[in-house]
Every structure is written in structure tokens, then in C-alpha cells.
């Protein structure tokens, strides 16, 4: 693997006698979204504060592109810190400054840009984060979600190479939580920065993360992909399983990925060898553009409504669904074969095109003038109990995906 952007080697930090970070080893790679998970008070924020230089380790080394921070010259350290932005858990906005002034502050104080250039840059960021109308408001006049967006805009305005997000979704409802995560993912792709997040939003945060770091009792107990994390065996996992199992009311209102996995494993174990089952995979295509057009909150509302619609339709034939990735849903049909599933899918596609998409957009309160055309793709694949791995069936369903419905703005108008 490449040289890590940030590497901790045996980093220890003590407060009085208590070691908050205990011999921590970790790697953060460039251009990725890395999420740090762990219980409250396990030192996640302390870890981030070491990266940004607000704290220094008592023992151990922090490396930036292989170079120890402690051995950097003053100018090298300044260059390093100038590449990082930090988004605080409580936003840390300047409450006596307006939104515009908050976002402009780092540019005014650390660059030689002209007043006009600063204004243009700040206005552009405010537009991208849907804050244009709040420019002259004070943070106390904004909702929690808007304050987050101001903090995000301020973090983005200096075009950093790395942004550290300390629990960016705390205190938000499920739609806004996913909207913030989706916004982070979108900007991460758009601007190419390295993102490091602290989040409790399992599994929502997995959909946008490339790597997961699990911190428990001051130590890193897991480093790897979200998929690898799902197979991770550790007592720590049990606590997270509990939270994951309780996710029915989360974004889509349908089952979590883990519940889905457990249920389809149970379904398969009850089947006789060679008995068939079907997997259907649905994709809301152009989801990022949709979010950009409608705003992240409304984009998540559309996704939410689509998930509920799929679940309702396929629940009638014994199917159960789960969100599979950021913009994908999977439905497991334990009692169907391919022919039957294709027939059900055809009915579903007809209903979706005829009234479903309108209902979804109405539920998400998408104004007619903001209508955005996007397609829904779907594919089904059949598997057999005792046959090939279910993952292969998913892959086949993915390959078979084709457009089944599309929002037509002309019709809405």
C-alpha cells in the first residue's frame, strides 16, 4: 500500500495518570475517507487534536508523509498545518460574527487575497453549502444543521488537503445526519481532500468511508475497510452489533445491512439444497447530482421515500430489504424464483413509473420547479440454497441492472 499521509507510531497521551491514548498505531491514507469509531470518552477527539497539533504526544511519533512532526522545522510545520482544517464537534463558530465573517475569517487573517477575491470565494462556498441566504445572520439565529454547514464551509474555504471532522453529525436527526455525511462524501470527491471523521453513526457512516479505525480503551483494535469490519470478531463488535440491530428507524426505516444478512442467512439455512431464492438490487442513479440539485437534506428524503416504497411493495411477496450502499437497496426474496421475481419487478416498475415516483417526490416535498430527472435501475438474480455464495448473486443482480423508471419533469409540470 502507499505511504500513509498520517501515521501514528506507539503514540501515548496521558491526563494525570490516565492514558487516554495508549501505544496507538494507525495509518491514514491520502484521498480516503477514514472514520474513527468508538465509545464516548475513548480518546477519539484527543486523537484528532494530535493530528492538528492542538495536543502533542507524551510518547511515540506522529509522521506526516513519513516525516516525524516533532522533527519538522517551523516552516515545515506551518506548511503542514496550513493543509489541514478542523471541524469541531460544537462547530466553534464565532458567535459575534455573521456567517459570512465566520467563513471569511481564515482567508482574511492568513492570506494576502484582496477583499474582492475573499468575497468571491466565500460567496462560492456559501452557495455550494446552501447558505447564501444566511450570509448576514449570526450563528445563534441558525438551526443546528445550518451551523454545521457554516463550520463545514469555513473548513473548506482554505482549500485544505485534509479535513478532520469531530462528530460532524452530533445532535442531528437521521435525515440531516445522512445529509451531512452525504455532503462530506460529495465534497471529498469534488475537492479530493483526505477526510478523517469521528462518528457514532454506524452503519450510515460506513457508506461513505474507505477505512474504519476502531478505538477502544485507548488502543486501535481494528483498521480496515467497512466490509472487513463487518467480519471483525471482538467483544467491541457486540456493542456495535447492538446499535446496528436497533437501526430500523434509521434513514430508510428498513432493515440494517447486518439484520438483512442475518435474516437471509436464516432464510437460506431453512431451505433444502437447490431450492431457489432471488436477490433484487435497486439503484438511485445520479444520486450525487440529485443532492447537488435538491440539496443534501431533500436528496436523503428522496432516498428514504424510495426505500420505504421498495420495502412496502416487496414485503407483500415475503421479501425484506436493506440499504446496501449510499444509493442502493437490496431485497431478498426467499420464496421466489427468477420468473416470479421478474414478474413482480415488472409490476413494481410500472407502479413506480405511474405513481410511485410522484409519491416519492411528494413525500420528500420536492417543489415542482426544482424537479430533477433521475433514473431508477434494478436487476434480479437467482441463487440456490447450498449453491454459490450470496455475494456472487448480488454481483450478478448488479450486472443485470437496467433502467426501470425515470422521473420525468415534463410530466410533473
Amino acid at each position: 500500500m502507499d505511504l500513509p499521509l498520517i501515521e501514528f507510531q506507539k503514540v501515548t497521551k496521558r491526563f494525570s495518570e490516565h492514558a487516554v491514548l495508549d501505544q496507538v498505531d494507525l495509518k491514514i491514507y491520502e484521498g480516503q475517507v477514514t472514520t474513527i469509531i468508538g465509545k464516548s470518552g475513548t480518546g477519539k477527539s484527543v486523537l484528532l487534536k494530535h493530528i492538528i497539533g492542538l495536543m502533542t504526544p507524551d510518547e511515540g511519533v506522529i509522521l506526516f508523509r513519513g516525516q516525524p512532526l516533532q522533527k519538522m522545522s517551523r516552516s515545515e510545520r506551518n506548511r503542514y498545518f496550513s493543509q489541514i482544517s478542523y471541524m469541531f464537534q460544537n462547530n466553534a463558530l464565532f458567535d459575534s460574527m455573521t456567517v459570512f465573517e465566520n467563513i471569511a475569517l481564515p482567508l482574511r487573517q492568513t492570506t494576502d487575497l484582496s477583499q474582492k477575491a475573499i468575497e468571491e470565494k466565500v460567496r462560492a462556498r456559501m452557495e455550494q453549502t446552501e447558505l447564501t441566504e444566511a450570509a448576514d445572520k449570526y450563528p445563534s439565529e441558525l438551526s443546528g444543521g445550518m451551523q454545521k454547514r457554516v463550520a463545514l464551509s469555513r473548513a473548506l474555504v482554505t482549500d485544505p488537503q485534509m479535513i478532520l471532522f469531530d462528530e460532524p453529525t452530533t445532535g442531528q436527526d437521521v435525515i440531516r445526519r445522512n445529509a451531512i455525511l452525504s455532503m462530506i462524501a460529495q465534497y471529498q470527491r469534488k475537492f479530493g481532500f483526505t477526510a478523517v471523521l469521528i462518528s457514532h453513526d454506524v452503519p450510515d457512516v460506513f457508506f461513505i468511508s474507505n477505512r474504519i479505525l476502531a478505538l477502544s480503551e485507548g488502543r486501535i483494535i481494528f483498521q480496515g475497510t467497512p466490509e472487513e469490519f463487518e467480519g471483525f470478531e471482538h467483544p467491541f463488535m457486540d456493542e456495535f452489533v447492538q446499535s446496528i440491530e436497533g437501526l430500523q428507524e434509521h434513514l430508510t426505516g428498513i432493515q440494517s445491512k447486518r439484520q438483512f444478512k442475518v435474516r437471509n442467512q436464516m432464510g437460506l439455512s431453512r431451505k433444502r439444497p437447490q431450492e431457489s431464492y432471488v436477490v433484487a438490487l435497486f439503484t438511485l442513479e445520479d444520486f450525487d447530482q440529485l443532492c447537488e440539485h435538491l440539496g443534501h437534506t431533500r436528496g436523503q428524503e428522496v432516498l428514504n421515500a424510495l426505500g420505504a416504497y421498495i420495502n412496502k411493495h416487496f414485503g407483500g411477496v415475503g421479501g425484506f430489504s436493506a440499504r446496501q450502499s449510499k444509493n442502493q437497496f437490496a431485497t431478498f426474496l426467499p420464496f421466489s424464483d427468477l420468473n416470479e421475481a421478474e414478474r413482480v419487478l415488472k409490476d413494481f416498475a410500472r407502479d413506480l413509473q405511474k405513481e410511485g415516483l410522484d409519491a416519492i417526490q411528494a413525500k420528500a416535498e420536492v417543489p415542482r420547479e426544482l424537479c430533477f430527472e433521475f433514473p431508477i435501475l434494478a436487476g434480479v438474480a437467482q441463487g440456490e440454497a447450498g449453491g454459490e455464495q450470496i455475494d456472487h448473486v448480488f454481483q450478478e443482480a448488479q450486472l443485470r441492472q437496467k433502467e426501470i423508471a425515470r422521473v420525468l419533469c415534463e410530466r410533473r409540470r
Binding site: F88, A92, P106
Partner: protein, 266 residues
């Protein structure tokens, strides 16, 4: 052993207090040096002007009001005292010298401490506990440069100007009570003011006001800046206590410094 402990404990306590005091004074001196050295960095002027407005312009009304009544009370008291000695004619000298040498700089500094010093401590304290100062660090903005230096500079500019205003209005107050209300000759009053006040008196008063400006701004900013290190309280309560400490210590140090500076000039 116990007897020994109870015997030595007051000394241990005093020693600990003395060490804390020395260490805090050292920290404050470094704080002042760093804060002062950053006044002339780029991008400071607009922020300094902003603080001159808050510390100076917005304190003008209260300073004028206090100056007026101080002058009036002085005029009233001194007139009745001087009449007993048949020297009512020197009322102008007595009022002007008292105000320019002592009361002007001291009362102005105390008034600004109450109005602007407390707000400096509270504002910086709140910024500390709400992580706004940490946010400045992460944006590579030195909090001392951005928050403290402009306040020190603005205080050094505002204190002498407000002191001059206080003196002027105070002399006018003395005129109102001595001349308008008690019937002293107005020519005598102003002649005495003009003849008795020397440049050294005015310079002395201004030196005092600059010294007070440095003391008040440094102390108030220091108390707010290190609110989070208080061991007696946390959060909003710590901000409250920091503000109280800032005001009380500033007032005490103003009087101590007044004595020290006066002893140099006399």
C-alpha cells in the same frame, strides 16, 4: 509528626501561594511581551480600530458622566474647605491638579476596567470554553495576535484620550459647582487652572494612564485566556470568576501602580 505537620502547614500554604503568584506573574509578563510584540504585525490595524471603538469611543459617555460629577463634588468640597482658610480663589488650582495628577487617570482606568475590562475577560473566557480559541489555532491564526494584541494597543490609545476627556469635563464640573452654583469669580477659577497646571502634571497623568492601560488590558485578557486552567470552577462559572478576578485585581493594581508611578514623579 502530626504536630509538625500542623506547625509547618501555614508555611507550606504560604510557600505554595507565593510560588503560584510568582509563576502567574511570570506567565503574565510573557503574555504581555508576546501580546505587545504582535501589535505591529500585518492585518492588525482594522482590528485595533475596532477595539478603540469598543474600549474608547463607547466608554466616553460614562467617563464624561463620572468626570462631571467628580469635578462637581471636588468643587463643592474644596470650596467649603478653602473658604475656611480664606483661599477660595485657588479652587481652580485644587480641582485641576487633583484631577490631572490623580483622580483623572485612576477613576478613568477604574471606569474602563468596569466597562471594557470585564467584557474583555468575559468575551475571551467564553471564546476559550466554547473552543473558539482552539478554532483559531486550527486556522493558523495566533489567538494572542488576533485577540490580545489589538486590545492592548487599543487600551494604550484609549486610556490617555479618555483620561484627557475626564480631566476636561471634571474641570468643567468644578466650574459648575464653584462658579455657577457657589458664586466664585469665573476669571479667577480659570486663571488658577491655567497658572497652576504645568506640563509635567499632564505628562505624569498620561504616563499613569498608559501604565494603567497595559495593566488592565493584560490582566483582563490573561484572566479570560486562561479561564480553562482554573481549578476552582469550570465552564460558565469559570468565566464569571475570571471576570470578577480581572476586575478586582485590575482595580487593586491600578491603585498600587498609581502609588509607584506617583513616587517616581514626586
Amino acid at each position: 509528626m502530626n504536630g509538625q505537620t500542623s506547625f509547618t502547614s501555614p508555611f507550606v500554604y504560604l510557600g505554595r501561594k507565593a510560588l503560584t503568584l510568582v509563576s502567574e506573574m511570570g506567565a503574565m509578563a510573557l503574555f504581555l511581551i508576546r501580546g505587545f510584540s504582535m501589535i505591529f504585525r500585518p492585518r492588525q490595524l482594522p482590528v485595533i480600530i475596532q477595539h478603540v471603538y469598543y474600549i474608547g469611543a463607547r466608554s466616553a459617555t460614562i467617563v464624561m458622566l463620572v468626570g462631571l460629577f467628580t469635578g462637581m463634588v471636588l468643587g463643592l468640597q474644596l470650596f467649603h474647605t478653602l473658604v475656611k482658610f480664606g483661599s477660595a480663589g485657588v479652587l481652580g488650582s485644587a480641582v485641576a491638579l487633583s484631577l490631572i495628577r490623580e483622580l483623572g487617570p485612576v477613576l478613568t482606568a477604574i471606569m474602563i476596567t468596569a466597562r471594557a475590562g470585564s467584557s474583555m475577560a468575559a468575551e475571551i473566557g467564553i471564546q476559550r470554553i466554547s473552543e473558539q480559541i482552539d478554532a483559531l489555532h486550527t486556522m493558523r491564526i495566533d489567538p494572542l495576535r488576533y485577540l490580545v494584541s489589538p486590545r492592548i494597543a487599543a487600551s494604550v490609545i484609549s486610556f490617555p484620550l479618555l483620561t484627557a476627556l475626564f480631566d476636561l469635563i471634571g474641570i468643567l464640573g468644578g466650574y459648575i459647582s464653584g462658579v455657577v452654583l457657589l458664586g466664585l469669580n469665573d476669571g479667577t477659577y480659570f486663571y488658577r487652572v491655567q497658572s497652576s497646571v504645568e506640563m509635567a502634571d499632564i505628562v505624569g497623568g498620561f504616563v499613569k494612564s498608559v501604565v494603567f492601560a497595559v495593566i488592565v488590558s493584560t490582566l483582563c485578557c490573561f484572566q479570560g485566556f486562561f479561564t480553562h486552567t482554573r481549578t476552582d470552577s469550570y465552564g460558565a462559572k469559570a468565566v464569571g470568576l475570571s471576570t470578577t478576578s480581572a476586575v478586582v485585581l485590575s482595580c487593586v493594581l491600578i491603585l498600587v501602580a498609581d502609588y509607584v508611578v506617583t513616587s517616581f514623579f514626586l
